[in-house]
């Protein structure tokens, strides 16, 4: 029964002129968007790799100099965007991609990928993911709004009852037809994406291919949810017009209004401090701790006692190592600790906002799907935090290595005039951003995926259960 209805619905679908208008337009748009994004992405990756190399060369070409000067000279760390960000750009247009690593200071990532802001696309950033998550449901609505309501309006529904058509199989069959159309579109899309992946020269293509497969499953599930929603609402509506308008309003509510209202509510309930306020908090904390550039600073007196007793001497001048270097190392340790603590607090607030998003995702499948899509394409917030953490860990190691050199190899007398041979920093390993593999996605993601499965199970159950009640042949 379901199969018969499915075949019939597909046949009716293929006869619609609207399909042959809309589908080519959407396909062309998707092609255009994916190719442009792909080109920009590859160009950006290449330029970044080039500059990472230039930066490394500049670092290693430094002449003999004082290690603290080297620590201030610093190094650039570039964030390699995930190879699938041409499908879902996620937060990439909004974040910086280069971090300057230097002593005493944690900089913010600058250098956005595009000079133009994405802010003028108020209905959604134009990427392949948006075409699938925002535009495709509208196409399904345009094709499927009349699937059951037309039967009712034209009176055909009452003829189906004596034929033994079960309402549930009617709904199931029709939903499957729209799902089939979506799957066809997604297969073509992901075949193209796979082609890009195979043709590229990325180091970890198997990871990218696996992520592609997971994204395909995600998008199919999303389209399944919308197919069921559309057919369900079409069943509920009494006329075609009512069905179309309710579906458009539903699309508006789920994909535009709720996601757009979320940042307001999140910032209201769990406000993330702005950069200036954050820096002031750090300054206040550090003012209590002291200044590493000033070895006579009183707050370092306890540290001084500790060091003197460790080396078993009475005066700084008798230390076998350079006291200035030890002070630098201690100062660096303190500033890093203070920064990490406060930044972790900011990330906690952001995590609370994300939890709010998870709650809103119960109502809006778009929020759920867009988050998971970003996670899978590696353009979500956590991948950015990971980059920042990797860069900060590297920076800390780098600066402390240089401070160690300062301590061990520079004499305290006429400290600033001494120079160290450049081979020392040529031996320090260079920064290399390690994007996470799909296995390393956080456990949070599994919670999201579980929520998604719940949607996928609950919604059809609801629709088929409630709306799939016996068709009243008189009322239709």
């Amino acid at each position: 029964m379901v199969g018969v209805i499915f075949k019939h619905e597909v046949r009716m679908l293929l006869r619609k002129r609207l399909l042959w208008w809309l589908l080519p337009m959407v396909v062309m748009l998707t092609l255009l968007v994916s190719i442009v994004h792909w080109q920009q992405q590859e160009s950006f990756r290449q330029t970044q790799s080039h500059w990472q190399q230039v930066n490394n060369e500049l670092w290693q070409a430094q002449p003999d100099r004082h290690p603290h000067r080297v620590a201030h000279y610093g190094s650039l760390a570039f964030r390699q965007a995930s190879p699938l960000s041409f499908l879902d750009a996620g937060i990439n247009p909004y974040t910086g991609n280069a971090l300057f690593l230097e002593a005493h200071k944690q900089n913010s990532a600058g250098l956005q990928q595009f000079s133009i802001s994405a802010g003028h696309m108020a209905l959604g950033y134009l990427s392949v993911a948006t075409v699938v998550l925002v535009l495709w449901p509208l196409l399904l609505i345009a094709l499927g709004f009349s699937s059951v309501s037309d039967e009712r309006e034209s009176g055909r529904l009452r003829f189906l009852v004596p034929l033994g058509v079960n309402a549930r199989s009617l709904l199931a069959g029709k939903s499957l037809a729209y799902l089939a159309l979506s799957v066809l579109f997604l297969v073509a899309l992901f075949a193209l994406a796979l082609g890009f992946v195979v043709m590229s020269d990325w180091p970890d293509r198997s990871d990218a291919a696996l992520r592609l497969l997971l994204m395909f499953v995600l998008y199919t599930a999303y389209c399944a949810v919308w197919s069921v929603l559309i057919v369900g609402l079409s069943r509920w509506a009494r006329t075609n017009t009512q069905s179309l308008i309710s579906l458009v309003l539903l699309w508006l509510a789920l994909i535009v209004l709720i996601p757009k209202g979320l940042p307001w509510v999140a910032q209201q309930l769990y406000p993330v401090p702005d950069r200036a306020s954050f820096e002031i908090r750090l300054d206040k904390m550090l003012a209590q701790v002291g200044d590493a550039h000033d070895p006579a600073d009183p707050h370092f007196s306890a540290f001084r006692e500790q060091v003197l007793s460790r080396y078993g001497v009475k005066r700084i001048e008798d230390l076998p190592v350079n006291w200035n270097g030890l002070v630098m190392a201690e100062g660096e340790r303190i500033t890093s600790e203070v920064f990490q603590t406060h930044y972790a607090e900011v990330q906690t607030v952001a995590a609370r906002q994300e939890r709010l998003r998870k709650m809103a995702a119960v109502v809006s499948p778009y929020l759920l799907a867009s988050h998971l899509s970003q996670v899978l394409s590696g353009s979500d917030l956590h991948s950015f935090y990971r980059f920042e953490q990797q860069a900060e860990d590297y920076r800390y190691q780098l600066i402390q290595t240089l401070n160690q050199l300062h301590t061990d190899t520079i004499a305290r007398d006429s400290d600033r005039e001494q120079r160290l041979a450049h081979r020392h920093w040529q031996e320090i390993p260079l920064f290399h951003h390690q994007p996470e593999s799909w296995r390393q996605v956080s456990s949070e993601t599994y919670a999201w995926a579980a929520a998604g499965l719940l949607w996928l199970w609950l919604l059809p159950a609801l629709v088929l259960g409630w709306l799939g009640r016996r068709v009243n042949p008189c009322a239709g």
Partner: protein, 459 residues
């Protein structure tokens, strides 16, 4: 007149119309409320930063004779806020994407102004539901849902033969659309007044211009509805056509505008800016300091009446090198600025293709929440930094005796809102589109325009 009252009653009877109008009111007020709350949050943060700065200044001043101007200038960071106009409560725009409050010290300005904002980036792609979004994107949908089937509905429900005997289609259409337009316009104006009051926007000439702009914009969508209704497509096709137009103008055209400008930043320029500024400063520690200072004094002869540098370190050399590191990247910074301004100009051509984009640009220009405004903020920062240098340099170069109390006169940053322009142009552009639509509507063949008496459209 009776006919108009009748039309109003007909509209009011529709449950969906009432719910939609209610939703429109609620969403607009919520959006305005959220916008003004956000402004309030920003104001509190600004006050906290200013209070911290005042406290720091007092702390330095309390140290009295002990204070070295070099150290004080090194540590003291002056708050420089991109203070919002009240319009930001209505048009949030791109304000959340970049820092709106920087703390700038005497060090090289090109190393301080390109910070990223601390924010939950994953919420940025979702955009903001500000009052401007409601008026630009949601109001047209409201117009469409209420009006686009006004004639088709009559035909399909079978009331048309009776109506056609009493009144011509044109008169019915004008009456009905006229009532809808007047009601919605009144409601929107009221909401605009209330939202402006919530945000604290001044009811001045600019406000009137924006009001005029919103009216013309609504008129545009009614012109679209008229054009669709006249085509006699039937209610389903009417709705689909209208939603299609809304989507094209609101989603596709802005997307195309973005794609056309999507080229990666001139990385060579921008990374070069980052790297060269820092390198110049850091390398100077290992170079001939006296010679570098001389080179600086040749470029800035107003400070050349200074004693020669003594010893390994002198604050005047340090700040001279900070300025030199800025001067060295002046061209690169200029290129960055030029490119941003150019991109903001080039995208303007897309305004012709979509009144939604047009209105969005116009409103963001009024509220100073677009990229051009941010670049203006950076420009003002750079010129204020020059004033700050003019304050501190005499203590280093001209051996002016330093009295810590004098730092109360440190030049404060006060963001100057530029005079808003371009609304008249937007009004003209949209009016032109309306005229175009009316002409196209008039050109629809007469036999198409005649509403047939049969009640149900063929498929």
């Amino acid at each position: 007149m009776r006919g108009l009252i009748f039309e109003f009653k007909l509209l009011w009877r529709s449950v969906m119309a009432r719910w939609l109008l209610l939703a429109y009111i609620v969403i607009t007020l919520l959006a305005a409320g959220f916008g003004s709350q956000r402004l309030h949050q920003e104001e509190v943060a600004r006050q906290q930063v200013q209070a911290h700065f005042n406290e720091q200044l007092r702390h330095w001043q309390a140290r009295g004779e002990d204070v070295s101007p070099g150290y004080m200038a090194y540590y003291l960071k002056v708050p420089a806020a991109f203070s919002p106009s009240p319009w930001v409560g209505l048009v949030r725009g791109e304000r959340d994407e970049r820092p709106t409050q920087l703390r700038v010290g005497l060090l090289a300005v090109q190393g301080q102004i390109y910070e990223g904002e601390l924010t939950n980036h994953s919420l940025l792609p979702l955009g903001v539901l500000d009052a401007a979004f409601v008026w630009i994107y949601l109001l047209p949908l409201l117009v469409g849902v209420l009006c686009v089937n006004c004639l088709a509905g009559e035909r399909e429900s079978g009331r048309w033969p009776m109506l056609a005997s009493q009144v011509s289609a044109a008169r019915l259409l004008c009456g009905r659309l006229g009532v809808h337009f007047a009601l919605l316009l009144l409601l929107s104006m009221l909401l605009f007044v209330v939202a402006s009051a919530i945000s604290g926007v001044a009811f001045d000439g600019l406000w009137l211009k924006v009001l005029g702009l919103l009216c013309i914009y609504q008129l545009f969508w009614y012109a679209v509805v008229t054009a669709i209704v006249v085509m006699q497509l039937g209610s389903l096709k009417n709705t689909l056509a209208y939603v299609g137009i809304w989507l094209t103008l609101g989603f596709l055209v802005p997307g195309m505008a973005y794609l056309s400008q999507m080229e990666p930043q001139d990385l060579n320029n921008d990374i070069g800016l980052m790297v060269k500024q820092r390198q110049t400063m850091n390398d100077s520690w290992d170079r001939d300091k006296a010679a570098d200072l001389q080179a600086f004094l040749q470029s800035y002869p107003e400070w050349s009446d200074t004693s020669p540098m003594e010893g390994r370190f002198d604050w005047k050399w340090y700040y001279a090198m900070q300025q030199q590191s800025d001067a060295v990247v002046a061209e690169l910074a200029g290129n960055y600025r030029q490119r941003r301004v150019q991109l903001a100009d080039e995208v303007q051509v897309w305004r012709w293709w979509s009144p939604m984009l047009n209105l969005q640009f116009a409103l963001r220009a009024v509220a100073q929440t677009d990229a051009a405004a941010h670049q203006g903020y950076l420009d003002q920062l750079v010129s204020w930094h020059n004033e700050m240098r003019a304050f501190w340099y005499p203590y280093f170069f001209l051996d002016k005796p330093f009295e810590v109390g004098a730092t109360s006169d440190l030049p404060a940053f006060d963001y100057q809102h530029p005079v808003s322009a371009g609304i008249a142009k937007t009004i003209q552009q949209i009016s032109l589109l309306i005229v175009l639509l009316v002409v196209c509507t008039g050109l629809v063949p007469a036999r198409r325009r005649m509403v047939p008496v049969r009640s149900r459209p063929l498929a």
